[in-house]
């Protein structure tokens, strides 16, 4: 939201919203998609229906023609604030210049998209699922809004609806030449008895799209260049107080506070609030709260990570990979053992990756106000939402979900970290203690790193089996690590035709806090798979693109990305002296193949990445330039993690604390160019936020192999590790 001091819609109950609305609201859909349209003009029927149904309110029309379209997804830089309303506007036939966008209320029954289970609904901005899961929802809701306008015009003109059409922001009766702008229809809005659901037909033919696929600037960018875009950490409310927590060096360690009286005597300190794993302090100012945090004298209990040393665990993981006891099956195709027995040549390698941290630029924070009687709460937060869009606060306070209002704010980065609500619950505890004063909880960067939730460390053992004819017949992949899907995602090969495949997960557990991190297991797994394929290519004397070309023969969309990237990167022309190119393919919803060109400073071990080329098939692309931005950002975040980032734990404690010792990619490290070609498609849109990041490690390692003949198999590829490999 822009910091204009206006009240966000979520602040008002739906009924009050309707009363206070100057224009006309089109309420569309019971249960999200089915029609149940009510006009503001008919308040009795409206209120009756509001009581009866879960109503969906997607759009507000003013008499001057302005539309407000509600975005149900979090905006964390991926562009949902534009892409979803744009899809709606396309089907509504709206004039995009007359559209304003606001966040929808956080009410899943109304604004959810199909969840992970059939028949469920979800508001959860994760897994690159936003455009993919909302595309049909927004199209149908937009088409229903258009239908209402046409129905109203038909009534107004007394002509059959079938004789009407729409142009941008107007309804047209061709036969009489009459036209009426959407805004002018507001006084005449009439609600039909029922609405088409537009499930199978009645939507635009994609070739008639006016908005989807064109270069539409993102709606929220102007507010992000003048400082007015509001993040939760920017909230300032009357009587607001500030909370901070001191957490242990070991995840889950229990505190005993030694000097509570001293802390309470400090200037500005209002309250000390104990948690199982932390001590909270509330003060009148942020600086007073932070001073008190520093003054806390706490003794800590032991906790499960005690004794865990992250860089030593690989030895244990190697043993687990060799264990006779089979792990959990992730994927099984054909007969891997037969392929391994019959192999003429076998390639085996272990790949490793250290823990990495989200490092979203806005440290975790929330603002919560609990009513004096404890029966209502308001939350201002940057959240990727969740299965519970009220983020656990109703349970914490023992009040019903409808008594909690979530005011979603822009996210200063998500990357998976804001898909859990630990920080929201922490703030809820403080807000309950301080009710009715609003409390702003701020994690320092040190809190954010040392009590972080990390992408798991893994070891992966891959074995490729090649038969006497030189054909890749078997591919086995054992993932060792903590976190289930967090380590196993992306280990399947659905676009490589390898007849015998086996993926297993060997579980380990260390009490370290783990979380989805952009692309999740795809980062480490695609690295291992793509690097293994180049081992095979080199061993068999086959070009890496040619090997993949053969493997993708039955997957034409994947193959097209390979062919396109080979073309734009001029793959067949050798790189200049001292440079080499490497390739990697990734499926993460969308399909992408990337090529990079690198050089290596053999005295420092520094890898320089000069250029990137990507070819992508994402189905229908709503905002092409934004997809390119996601490719660029995904590549740079990938380069950051692959070349620099590393969390280590010694005796269970995180060794890094801030950006001085957790290095991110900086501007001096960027390549000269990142070129993306989007392949045309009319297929359903697929997510793009996590397709580029997992390309990076494999492509760089493969370029390094071509350049030096050596293998990089342990992420990150720090200069020290590169030197070690070069000197091996």
């Amino acid at each position: 939201m822009k910091n204009t001091g206006t009240t966000p819609m979520a602040n008002v109950s739906r009924r009050n919203f309707l009363k206070s609305s100057g224009g006309v609201a089109l309420f569309i859909g019971a249960g999200g998609l089915l029609p149940n349209l009510i006009s503001c003009n008919d308040s009795k029927s409206l209120q009756a229906n509001l009581k009866k149904h879960d109503l969906t309110a997607w759009v507000r029309l003013s008499e001057d023609g302005e539309l407000i379209i509600y975005n149900p997804a979090a905006e964390m830089g991926q562009g949902s604030m534009t892409s979803l309303p744009l899809v709606f506007a396309e089907e509504m036939d709206a004039d995009w210049n007359k559209v304003k966008v606001e966040f929808s209320p956080q009410e899943t029954d109304i604004y959810g998209s199909p969840g992970f289970q059939p028949g469920t609904k979800l508001m959860f901005t994760v897994g690159s699922r936003t455009t993919n899961s909302y595309y049909s929802v927004m199209r149908r809701a937009g088409a229903q809004a258009r239908y209402v306008l046409m129905y109203s015009a038909a009534q107004h003109w007394q002509v059959p609806l079938e004789k009407l059409s729409t142009g941008p922001h107007e309804v047209i009766h061709e036969a009489s030449g009459q036209r009426i702008a959407f805004g002018e229809l507001a006084p005449y809005l009439t609600m039909p008895e029922s609405l088409p659901d537009f499930e199978t037909d009645g939507l635009k033919d994609p070739k008639d799209f006016r908005l989807i696929g064109t270069e539409i600037p993102r709606t929220e960018i102007p507010a992000k260049v003048d400082g007015s875009a509001l993040f939760a950490i920017d909230l300032r409310l009357p009587d607001m107080v500030y909370g901070v927590l001191e957490r242990g060096k070991l995840h889950g360690a229990k505190p005993t506070l030694i000097n509570e009286a001293d802390i309470l005597a400090l200037e500005g300190v209002l309250k000390v609030v104990p948690y199982d794993y932390a001590i909270g302090v509330v003060a009148t100012t942020l600086e007073a709260a932070l001073s008190a945090k520093k003054a806390l004298n706490i003794t800590w209990s032991d906790a499960p990570p005690k004794g865990f040393n992250s860089q030593e665990i690989y030895t244990t993981y190697e043993q687990l990979a060799s264990a006779s006891k089979q792990g959990k099956t992730v994927n099984a195709i054909g007969d891997i053992q037969a392929a391994q027995r019959q192999a003429a040549k076998t390639y085996t390698a272990d790949f490793k990756n250290d823990y990495v941290y989200h490092a979203q630029m806005e440290p975790l924070n929330a603002v919560i106000q609990v009513a004096k009687d404890g029966q209502h709460a308001d939350i201002w937060v940057g959240s990727q939402q969740g299965f519970d869009t009220k983020l656990g606060i109703p349970d914490l306070l023992g009040i019903p979900p409808e008594a909690v209002t979530v005011h979603l704010q822009y996210l200063g980065g998500g990357f998976g970290r804001r898909s859990m609500s630990d920080f929201v619950l922490e703030c809820g505890v403080l807000a309950q203690a301080m009710a009715p004063k609003p409390v702003k909880l701020v994690w320092t960067r040190e809190d954010d790193v040392t009590y972080g939730t990390f992408r798991p460390l893994t070891l992966q053992r891959l074995q490729a089996s090649v038969d006497a004819q030189g054909k890749l017949t078997g591919f086995s992949h054992c993932v060792v690590g903590d976190g289930g899907h967090l380590v196993a995602s992306g280990a399947r090969n659905d676009h490589y035709n390898i007849p015998n495949q086996w993926v297993e997960w060997q579980e380990a557990s260390h009490g370290v806090r783990l979380k989805h991190w952009r692309a999740v297991g795809h980062g480490p797994n695609k690295f291992a798979i793509e690097a293994m394929l180049d081992d095979v290519a080199v061993g068999q004397g086959t070009d890496p693109i040619e090997l993949r070309r053969q493997l993708m023969a039955d997957s034409p969309r994947a193959l097209a990305t390979l062919e396109k990237v080979a073309e734009i990167s001029d793959w067949s022309t050798p790189s200049p002296e001292g440079r080499a190119k490497g390739v990697a393919f990734v499926e993460h919803g969308s399909l992408g193949t990337g090529v990079c060109e690198i050089s290596v400073d053999r005295t420092t071990g520094q890898i320089n990445v000069h250029r990137w080329w990507i070819a992508l098939d994402a189905g229908v692309v709503v905002q092409p330039d934004n997809v390119k931005a996601q490719m660029e950002g995904g590549i740079l975040m990938g380069m950051s993690s692959v070349l620099k980032e590393q969390i280590t734990l010694v005796d269970g404690a995180v060794q890094q604390s801030n950006y001085h010792d957790y290095q991110l990619l900086r501007m001096q490290d960027v390549p000269d160019s990142i070129e993306t070609v989007i392949l045309p498609s009319v297929e359903h849109p697929e997510g793009v936020g996590e397709t580029a990041t997992p390309m990076v490690a494999g492509a760089i390692a493969n370029a390094f192999l071509k350049l030096t003949g050596k293998h990089l198999r342990h992420l990150p590829f720090t200069p020290e590790r590169v030197l070690e490999v070069l000197n091996s």
């Binding site: 830089g77 992000k224 630029m361 200063g412 660029e632 950006y659 501007m667």
Partner: protein, 157 residues
């Protein structure tokens, strides 16, 4: 607690805060100039970059006591009258921001660069901007935007 007078965006502001308070908290929490962001608190990320007498500085490591002696400060809110500084326009033209959180710092650092060096080379841009982190990976477009603003302003000069 002590009284300080701060000159920010050509306006004097009186604040009553504890001695030694970080300028960043004064700007954000006491004065409501929240365009300047908190990212690390140790001058490593640059999200809190403002101008102090024309030079880019990290507000998080400046104490209020040291900037209350008539120094002139400029924050993102004062970069232009209506969000139309050539850099802001170029940022929109190139669709540079993603999450947007670091962008105030990026813009203030870039503005200081162009004031010193209206036509920086790509190498000079990378070097001058190196202290400002972006996690979303918008660096490519930031470089493009600075080059665009540089072209626009030098052509108009």
């Amino acid at each position: 607690m002590a009284q300080y007078t701060l000159n920010i965006n050509n306006q004097d502001h009186e604040v009553d805060v504890a001695e030694g308070t970080s300028l960043l908290w004064v700007l954000r929490e006491h004065l409501g100039l929240t365009g300047t962001k908190y990212g690390c608190g140790i001058a490593q990320c640059g999200s809190c970059t403002i101008h102090l007498d024309g030079a880019p500085v990290r507000a998080c490591v400046l104490q209020v006591d040291h900037v209350a002696n008539g120094q002139k400060m400029k924050t993102i809110e004062g970069l232009s009258e209506s969000g139309n500084h050539p850099l802001q326009q170029a940022w929109i033209e190139t669709q540079a921001p993603q999450c947007g959180y670091c962008q105030s710092g990026q813009l203030m650092q870039a503005a200081a660069l162009l004031e010193q060096n209206p036509s920086p080379s790509r190498g000079e841009i990378k070097s001058y901007m190196n202290g400002i982190l972006c996690r979303c990976g918008t660096y490519m477009r930031i470089i493009e935007a600075i080059e665009l603003a540089s072209e626009t302003t030098t052509q108009n000069a």
